[in-house]
Symmetry: D2
Subunit: 245 residues, 4 copies
């Protein structure tokens, strides 16, 4: 066995780091004012002037009337660690750039997501409007034990195949979707707001959305990192029902 089962790690969190960004409320304003003022914009753009309170009205107007393009001239790169089943949902968002850890090019590490004690486990209601309730202690224990057991068996199996000389891309077939992966993702604020509108259900949301809790955990961390960079944009997003422009 190349990895002893005690080396297998189980976690109940996701991590998001902001690797690089070029994003500010001022950029939104400069882009918007190209439409209405033309060339004088550039001097202001290069002078590093910050957005002021009297600019809030323009940002609110752009958000409310869905003039979305001024929110695109910026860029945020996140490094995300989360289980594969989260990345499967994440990558359905097509207005973004991705590079994910590859099971073809490297041996995948034995780190698995197991739902933590606060994860609501029981789904009630009807399709499209499911609510979640706490699991009983027995359900919580069952989920923990099943995930640990299956992942341990699967990872040991993966290791046996690698040891026998089987290609990584073949051996990984047995690994469960709760395996952690990691990726770089780059988005602009408009695309991020669309992501947040669908993958969180924070207060004030105009349209209903029922994200799986684990992708919502990622989305909340992304939002918390983005908000201080573009506070007026984030505020007006909230105030307009969290509908992406």
């Amino acid at each position: 066995m190349r990895v002893a089962s005690e080396q297998i790690e189980f976690r109940s969190d996701v991590t998001v780091e902001l690797v690089r960004h070029s994003a500010s409320d001022a950029d939104v304003l400069f882009a918007a004012r190209v439409s209405t003022q033309g060339e004088q914009t550039l001097e202001a753009a290069s002078s590093g002037v910050e957005a002021s309170e009297r600019d809030r009205g323009l940002i609110n107007y752009l958000m409310r009337d869905r003039h979305g393009s001024p929110f695109e001239h910026n860029s945020l790169t996140f490094y995300v660690q989360a289980p594969i089943f989260v990345f499967r949902e994440f990558m359905r968002h097509r207005i973004a750039s991705y590079n994910e850890e590859s099971g073809r090019y490297r041996e995948l590490r034995p780190v698995f997501y197991v739902p933590g004690p606060e994860r609501k486990l029981v789904q009630v209601g009807k399709p499209g409007a499911y609510e979640f309730e706490d699991g009983t202690p027995e359900q919580t224990a069952l989920v923990h034990d099943e995930v640990v057991a299956v992942c341990t068996q699967a990872y040991e199996s993966y290791q046996r195949m690698l040891e026998a000389g089987v290609a990584r891309e073949v051996a990984r077939a047995v690994l469960p979707v709760t395996l952690y992966s990691s990726m770089y993702v780059t988005m602009n604020a408009r695309s991020l707001m669309n992501f947040l509108s669908l993958r969180t259900k924070r207060e004030g949301t105009h349209f209903p959305s029922f994200p799986q809790r684990e992708i919502e955990m990622v989305a909340e961390k992304m939002e918390d990192l983005w908000k201080p960079l573009m506070p007026m944009t984030a505020d007006t997003f909230d105030q307009n029902g969290r509908v992406a422009p």
Copy 2:
């Protein structure tokens, strides 16, 4: 146990069906001729005229000089059944529309991909230019047995959690990436050619590409279904090094 382990199905193939299409060489020609001839195009477009051999030159010119947009005015919808690890690669292609079976909305069926005897199992060479060789009989047997054992255990675990009232989206965490899924995917011919250029290594390919065999199996089936619909486009794609325009 809601599903006895003998009910679990193992397959070594992928399936692709062409559900709907609106795609022909004539459409490419009509679109291209809007640029050069303007209004008279439409009469021809609605008369159902087929592309003739003397049109081949124009299609070849569009392909060679990468005038890509005339290849976009068409649509192909495929229904694909393949393991999750194939869909993970597939959905990195962003110029396409997807609807995939959801593990949140339905109980996933116990069908798993296991590499067949002809699947080359051993990877040699260096990253970026791996070659694959046949596995030994021992390796082939090992892979089969490991995949069957882990998938069976995982699916039984999934069933135990569902029986205990755990939500589908939680219980599915234990399922391996070799589980079959199914999806609708809609693409135009330009996007399809880009997909084929990266996911097949058929003869005549100008740029090197090293797709995983399982997504190549899907790509080959898609190509075989597409070719008769747009034979001149497919031919000139081959003759120009299989570089998408």
Copy 3:
């Protein structure tokens, strides 16, 4: 003079024709049901079953909760004739495929848009919420005469340069943005609904939108051609505030 000024044509309309389509409410349903039902979908998809009234609820649910992807597995190709200033706005919509008449490859025909008598000419109110009012008879006559005079002079100038052997791509520089052009555009219903939500202000629209009248004329014709193909989708779009899913 290669074209006598009396050959110059002035029009006050736009034209939209539906060249090809593969679009139905049933396609939306099949795609949505892949998520929840998996494989049985395909048999129904190929049997040509139409959407029934009891399917309306599912389409309404998809629209309301912004499950947009099922509305993408279809395709509509329009042939549009409109002035250049309309195409300039149209092509800002990036989820679409375009082929437009080229002033580099062909001599442009002398057809110009001139606002008709019903075009409201006077803009009142403030930026972002302009209203339009009828022009006076003097204003209407002025606009007509100015457009006719400038376009005639410009087209004669274009002709003089072509006659002198100047390249088409250079000579066209003098042509006004009210010159007619023509294009093929292919979109799916989701992208079309986004276009309609921003380029029409029909009754019931949830978010305010202030399209220029001429692109709205194009959008209305596109909507009228699309509606009979996907009546349930079009109805639920209206009933949900004309917000694209």
Copy 4:
């Protein structure tokens, strides 16, 4: 007359400024190494390490084998001033973000592009492979005089309509496509390379391309601004036939 005809400006250049950027060869490497190395990448990413000569091989490999996604985690915002006929071609590039000066929201300024003496005016050869030759002195003078005359008449007409209370969006109909406009455009390096591959014909280009000279002038300036930011990427782009990955 609100603007005397002597105030009308004629120029023969285009301008491009780099407003903001977050782009380096190091970013390409970090993104690529997520695939092969996973988490250790981030420490390096945040330490500001520059790409070294031994990294060139990896960038060249990504370029040659068309692993395009690592070239997307960056962002360049340009401010471009060029005639409308250039922007018409530019905005056909859909993987980019645009905000352009609006003739609906502001009075357009009287600045027009007129071909300079070095602009080749005569097109020879056949469609798809046109070559351009110098104009005779008579042709050069004719083009200059025609453009000046038509633009002056058109702008005076625009002014007369505005003075009479006609809405800007209506009055602008008479303005020629050689009118200058300005825009913000944000792209990543992958999309920029695709733009350059189609809109320049610099030495070493693998696929033929026949851009109109004026958009090529814009593209060359963009390339010159981008090259020092990502020198290895720019070099390997050149060395691989200027085919975008």
